[in-house]
Point group: C2
Chain length 367, copies 2
DNA sequence: TTGAAAGCGCTAACAG
DNA sequence: CTGTTAGCGCTTTCAA
C-alpha cells in the first residue's frame, strides 16, 4: 500500500501528552469529551496536535479499547463486484446505506470472490455486526459469520436460522398471487425460468430431484407458490417445465427462454422468478417476432425500474425498504433478546406483458 | 446493537492458551502460521477453540498489532446512499470492488450524509487507505482524509492535490472533441446544462462570476473544453447559456431543459455535462413533441448503459476501469514514492440524438 | 518447536 | 478539572 508520499504516523496520543506535559487522559478528553477540560487547555492540546501532525486518536486502537468498530459488515452472494450490477442488490444497498448513514456507522463490504473461497475475510472484518444479503443456506462465508460473536441480520435467505434476525417478503404467497392472475387469464400451458437453485452450475431443465434439493429458500418458495397456484386449477406441477439459469443476467434469461420455448412451443406464459430474467425472455420474444402479450405472456419478480419501464407484469417488492430495515434491525440498540422476523408486503403489478392467451376459449368454454 | 441472541465473546486467545496449558504464541501460530507448530498440537488448539466457542483472533486487536486494517475506505460525494442510484458511481464501485476482491481487502463505505456534516466519521474509519470519488475541492471530509496518515487515491476530483494519486480522464479534451462534432454539424446556437458547480444550491442560469468560481474541476474542465471548441468557430462563450442543476437526476435535467429552451428558443443543440441530465433533456423534448435530433440535438457525457440504449450522442468514459485503477493504485505495494497520475482514454460516441441543425445552410452557404 | 516479555495506541474507572 | 492505573486482545522478536 503505497501511492502517497504522506509520511507514517509521526505522533501518538502519548507522545503528544508528553510533549505538552499533561496526561494522556487529558489529550484523549480533548478529542472525546470536550466538556471534561477547560477550553484553553483543549485549544492548547489541539494546537500542539496540529503542530506535531497528530491526526487524532487512532481508530483501530480506539475500537479495541471501546469494543466497537463503528461499522457494519455486509456479506453478499457471488462476488462483491456483482452486487453493483444487479438492480435488486443496488436497491438493497441503497436502503442499507441509508440506515448506516443515519446511525453514523460505516458499511464494510466483505470481499468475497468466487476464486478466493477463503473464509478468513469474514474473520478479518472489524465490524460490530453483519448483514447477510441473500445467500445460499450452506454458504461457507455465512457459516463463518455465524461464528463471529456479533449480531447478524439476514435479508431474504437463508431463512429460519436460529439466533439471527431476518427481513424479507413472503415469496410464496406473492407468487401464488401471480399464479392466480395467470390462471385467471386462462393460461394453462405455463413454463418457468428460475435463478440458480444450487451451488453447482446448471443451466437448463430442472429435474424433480433437483427441485427437491433447492439450496435457495427464495427460489424454493417462489416455485412453491407457483405450484400451489397452478394446482388450484388442476395443473400438475410435474407437467410444468422449469428452466434454470446459473448466471443472473438478461442474456441468461434470453437463452433460457429460447430453450424453453423450443422444448415446449405450446407454452402460453413464461413465468420468471426475477425481472432480469424476464427482461431476457422479453428480449428473446422481441427478437423472434413473438408478440407479447398476444402470443406470449411473460412475467417477472422484483419490480425493478427497468421492468417498470418495460411494462412488465411482475411482483413488486420493497427492495430499498428491505435494506433499510436490515440496517435498523442491526443497529437498533433496543434490548430485544428474541430474534425478530420482519416480513414486508409485496404488490402484484400487472403491466402489459400479460393477457388472456389465444387458446383461452378452450378453457372458458367449459364454464 | 442487539438483534441476535448470540452471546458476547466468551473466550480470548489468552484464555484458550491457559485452558490448554500452552503459550499464547502457540495459539496465535495455530491460526496465523500453521507451519510453526506440529499438526497434532494445532489440531488440539483448534479443537479446544471449537469447544470453547473461540471464534479466532479478534480482528480489531490483530489490526492494532499488525498495523493493518485490511480494508480500504471510500469517500463519496453526497450521501453514501446516493451512490447506488447513480449509474456512473455504481460503475466505479464495481471496478473498485473488483480490485478489492482481488487483493482480499474490505471496502469500507464512509457514512457521509448531508445532515451530519460530521467529519469524525472519517477519523473513525479503520482503514489502510482511502479512495476519494469525485468530491468538491474544499470538501471537509476530504480535508479530513488528508489528515489521516494513510495513502489516498482520488478519482476525478479534486485534481492536483499534493501527495495524492489520481485517476481520471481528460474531461476538457473530451469535451473539445464533442464540441467539434457539434460545430462540424453546423450548430451555432448551443445551450449547456451542467451539474452543480459549487457547494451552495443553485438551479438556473450561471453567471460569469459563478463560472469563474467553480468548485468542481470536472465540470470546470468540461465547460472549458466546450468553450474552446466553440471559440474555434468564433462563438463567444459569454453568449452561451449555461444552466446549472444542483441535483443530479433525470428530473433535474428535464426541468433544466425546459427552462433553457424557454429562455433561448433559438437553441439548436443542448450539451449536457452528464448522461443523466441529457436523458432528462431528452425526456423534455419527447414530452414537448420536439423531434430529436431533427429539431434539437442533445448530447451527454459518461456513456452509461441507459444512454447507450437511448442512442444518445455522448462521450464515453471507462467508469469501471477508473474504479479498478483507483483500487490498484492504492493497493499496489510497489514502493513508488512519487504520486501517480493516471489518465484514461475517452471515446466520442455519436448516437442518433445529434445531426445537422435546420438552419445549418446559413453557415455552410458561407463556405 | 515452544514460551516469555514487550508493547500496538487508546479509553475508562477512580482518585485527587 | 486532571492524573494514575489497568488493561482491550493480539503478534512478534528473541531465547530456550
Amino acid at each position: 500500500m503505497s501511492g502517497s508520499s504522506k509520511v507514517r504516523r509521526p505522533a501518538t496520543l502519548a507522545s503528544l501528552a508528553a510533549e505538552l506535559g499533561v496526561s494522556r487522559t487529558t489529550v484523549s478528553n480533548a478529542y472525546n469529551r470536550p466538556d471534561q477540560l477547560s477550553a484553553p487547555l483543549r485549544e492548547r492540546v489541539l494546537e500542539a496536535a496540529r503542530r506535531l501532525g497528530y491526526p487524532g486518536p487512532d481508530p483501530v486502537a480506539r475500537s479495541l479499547r471501546t469494543r466497537r468498530a463503528g461499522a457494519v459488515g455486509l456479506l453478499l452472494t457471488e462476488a462483491l463486484s456483482y452486487a453493483f450490477r444487479d438492480p435488486v442488490a443496488t436497491g438493497f444497498l441503497e436502503g442499507l446505506a441509508l440506515a448506516c448513514e443515519q446511525a453514523g456507522q460505516g458499511l464494510l463490504l466483505v470481499p468475497v470472490s468466487p476464486e478466493h473461497a477463503d473464509v478468513s475475510v469474514v474473520h478479518r472484518a472489524g465490524v460490530d455486526g453483519f448483514v447477510v444479503y441473500s445467500v445460499r443456506e450452506d454458504d461457507p462465508h455465512f457459516l463463518a459469520v455465524l461464528q463471529r460473536p456479533v449480531p447478524t441480520v439476514v435479508c431474504d435467505q437463508p431463512t429460519g436460522v436460529e439466533g439471527v434476525d431476518r427481513v424479507g417478503v413472503d415469496d410464496q404467497n406473492a407468487m401464488l398471487g401471480l399464479a392466480r392472475h395467470l390462471t385467471g387469464l386462462g393460461h394453462r400451458r405455463i413454463g418457468v425460468i428460475c435463478m440458480r437453485l444450487a451451488a453447482q452450475r446448471h443451466d437448463g431443465p430442472v429435474s424433480a430431484a433437483r427441485q427437491a434439493a433447492i439450496g435457495y429458500p427464495v427460489q424454493r418458495n417462489r416455485l412453491a407458490g407457483l405450484r400451489d397456484g397452478l394446482a388450484e386449477v388442476g395443473i400438475d406441477w410435474s407437467d410444468v417445465p422449469v428452466w434454470e439459469r446459473f448466471d443472473h443476467s438478461v442474456e441468461a434469461g434470453q437463452a433460457a427462454a429460447e430453450e424453453l420455448l423450443a422444448a415446449r412451443p405450446e407454452t402460453t406464459a413464461v413465468v420468471c422468478t426475477s425481472d432480469v430474467l424476464a427482461l431476457g425472455a422479453l428480449r428473446h420474444a422481441t427478437q423472434q417476432g413473438i408478440v407479447v402479450p398476444d402470443e406470449l405472456t411473460i412475467t417477472g419478480f422484483d419490480g425493478v425500474p427497468e421492468a417498470e419501464r418495460a411494462g412488465l407484469t411482475t411482483v413488486w417488492q420493497p427492495v430499498l425498504e428491505k435494506g433499510k430495515v436490515a440496517g435498523e434491525l442491526l443497529l437498533d440498540r433496543g434490548d430485544r433478546i428474541r430474534p425478530r422476523r420482519v416480513t414486508l408486503p409485496t404488490e402484484l403489478r400487472i403491466g402489459h406483458t400479460s393477457c388472456t392467451p389465444r387458446d383461452a376459449e378452450r378453457w372458458f368454454s367449459g364454464l
